[in-house]
């Protein structure tokens, strides 16, 4: 089927470009451009751009405990965390610090997602916003806690699989903590007869410890 005369290769090239030119009018395979601002592609679930912080209900329910693991692990060192001075009770009833300052310089951030991967509290996750350009290249690109905090519902919307998995893990941890608390209360009631206050603290920290380990494993596995 191959004709070999002088210039046959060039002629075949012409045929190929002509096919592509004509094909662009009826074959979507041959006109692959997506005209961006009008048409946006649906993002796959895994897409990651810059990090955000997940909260339950409202900003006061920020999951972050200012443990600074992400700050340490961030390869680009773009996270800055300052612990609050007062502790608040978290969803397990355990009193924890929250960050007073949580800044991410997204001009430095390289969207690697390691912060989300190492976070033991399922607090920092990767966002999917991508229209991040600003006119000033300094101040507006440093995202503060208020801009970073987003609801769990938003997390569910952009990463449904991960969010459902996270929620189930957290629910389980919470149930365990409640059982523990109930057990503790029973123990306390028993201890009221025979008081021994040290046990309750040990039990409590134990429960937090297990949930953290479980979360680390999960983060690595997904």
């Amino acid at each position: 089927m191959k004709f070999n005369f002088q210039g046959a290769g060039i002629v075949r090239g012409f045929v190929e470009t002509a096919r592509n030119f004509l094909g662009s009018y009826y074959d979507p395979e041959r006109l692959t451009t997506v005209e961006y601002p009008e048409r946006k592609l649906a993002l796959p679930e895994n897409v990651r751009t810059v990090p955000f912080l997940v909260y339950d209900h409202d900003m006061s329910g920020l999951r972050c405990t200012a443990c600074k693991i992400c700050e340490q692990e961030c390869p680009a060192a773009c996270i800055k965390i300052i612990k609050d001075t007062v502790k608040k009770s978290d969803y397990l009833g355990k009193s924890q610090f929250q960050p007073q300052v949580f800044d991410i310089d997204i001009a430095v951030c390289m969207s690697c997602g390691i912060c989300a991967e190492v976070c033991p509290f399922d607090s920092i996750k990767m966002d999917q916003v991508y229209e991040l350009a600003t006119q000033d290249r300094f101040a507006p690109l440093i995202l503060h806690k208020e801009q970073l905090g987003k609801s769990n519902a938003y997390f569910h919307a952009i990463h449904p699989t991960d969010a459902v998995e996270t929620d189930s893990l957290r629910d389980e941890a919470k149930r365990k903590a409640e059982t523990k608390a109930a057990a503790d209360a029973a123990a306390k009631a028993a201890a009221a007869v025979k008081p021994k206050p040290e046990i309750s603290t040990t039990a409590n920290s134990q429960s937090v410890g297990t949930s953290a380990t479980a979360n680390v494993e999960k983060a690595v596995a997904t």
Partner: protein, 404 residues
């Protein structure tokens, strides 16, 4: 003779310039005599770092006689970003995203080379499924790297972007796969010590199979467009010949070496990962010129497709990461390791020295682009400027990897 001397010291290449002009030192021209005794001028051209076809910020200091190159000095370092030094401050895990940015076209193979070195250092073993995933993503990377390379090569040859756009069209499909798998199109940051970061999403394998089964159609189309083209043949055959001996002694690896006829593919020689399980061949060229380098890449794409078909069909279920492998806070015992893989551009090696701390004591990268670039002058001597551009294009460099 005295006027001749004077002109040399003036060093201007043609008229229009005052000898007292402060600009005259910009034009470096020297005068030599050829075998017949005719005096003629040599012209020094600094091609780059801002030049349309130096593939980034690369500079070639070229001295030409007419359009024939008599000397060429590659100058690099304009894109130096300190990756090796940064690694000494980062955790072992935190280095992985930096490896994405070495050869920013093929982040997957970079990941693999680094992860393999750390696994060798700390004795981890990737799980079965993870090994398959690694092979699949690496061969996909090889596919689109070679497609882009031949596209860029033809762009350098002046084909106004058509082959490049066709190559990019296919590359987009693979990048879409990577995006749904890893969350990022180019900076995948996907592999981890003992496995990979996340499992294949639902339906990913089917999409990958579809891409792989459509790919031969693209190669056929591409070859119909350009392979038989008489202009391509005339431009590339016999141009930039790299002899077998020079290639070996200069440490050239990858498709460039194989185009010179040396049977050396680390997938075959080292059998790293699970490459020994796959049935594929290594294409070899005989001439070592630009056309052979072009054809070897086209043929390698077809061989990669074979590997992909086998891997996609054989991939087992199971865990994607060794639960014993520690990623965060890894402190491998003190030691030294060199590990290498066949990246699409050649032998990509990581040399890590650990002192037992959380960061490497020293990390050195053996970038195939850099080593392959060192013999640029040998290939370009006696050729024209237009040839130098396509010879550079056929080397397949990514400046991110050359300068690190």
């Amino acid at each position: 003779m005295s006027t001749l001397r004077k002109e040399i010291s003036n060093g201007s290449f043609c008229g229009g310039i005052d000898v007292d002009s402060p600009l005259r030192h910009f034009s470096g021209a020297t005068r030599t005599t050829n075998t017949n005794g005719f005096a003629h001028d040599l012209l020094e051209i600094s091609m780059g770092p801002h030049h349309p076809s130096t593939h980034g910020v690369f500079r070639m200091d070229v001295i030409v006689d007419g359009e024939e190159i008599v000397q060429l000095k590659p100058v690099f370092g304009y894109l130096h970003r300190n990756h090796e030094k940064l690694a000494e401050k980062n955790s072992y895990l935190g280095i992985i995203p930096y490896t994405d940015r070495l050869d920013y076209i093929c982040s997957m193979t970079n990941n693999w080379a680094y992860v393999l070195a750390v696994e060798k250092l700390s004795g981890f073993q990737a799980t079965e499924r993870a090994e398959y995933i690694r092979v699949i993503v690496s061969e996909l990377t090889r596919l689109f790297n070679h497609a882009c390379l031949v596209g860029f090569l033809l762009q350098d040859m002046g084909a106004l972007g058509t082959p490049l756009m066709y190559a990019f069209r296919e590359r987009e499909k693979i990048l879409d796969l990577f995006e749904s798998l890893t969350g990022s199109r180019m900076m995948c940051n996907y592999m981890r010590f003992g496995g990979v970061r996340c499992d294949l999403p639902e339906g990913w394998l089917d999409e990958a199979k579809k891409v792989v089964s459509d790919y031969p159609g693209f190669i056929d189309q591409f070859e119909a467009l350009i392979t038989g083209n008489e202009i391509l043949l005339a431009r590339s055959q016999g141009v930039g010949v790299l002899s077998r001996e020079l290639a070996i002694s200069a440490g050239v690896t990858g498709p460039m070496l194989r185009a010179s006829g040396v049977n050396y593919d680390i997938r075959k020689t080292d059998k790293y990962g699970i490459y020994s399980r796959f049935n594929f061949r290594v294409p070899l060229g005989d001439h070592g010129d630009v056309f052979d380098r072009y054809m070897i890449r086209v043929l390698e794409m077809r061989e990669s497709l074979k590997i992909l078909e086998q891997a996609l069909n054989q991939i087992p279920a199971g865990p994607i990461i060794d639960p014993k492998a520690k990623n965060r806070g890894l402190r491998p015992k003190a030691g030294e390791v060199y590990s290498r893989i066949e990246s699409p551009k050649g032998e990509l090696g990581f040399h890590i020295i650990s002192d037992g701390s959380a960061s490497p004591y020293r990390l050195h990268i053996r970038p195939p682009s850099l080593i392959n670039l060192t013999i640029l002058e040998d290939m370009c001597l006696g050729q024209t400027i237009a040839d130098a551009v396509i010879i550079l294009g056929s080397v397949d460099i990514v400046l991110g990897e050359v300068d690190r």
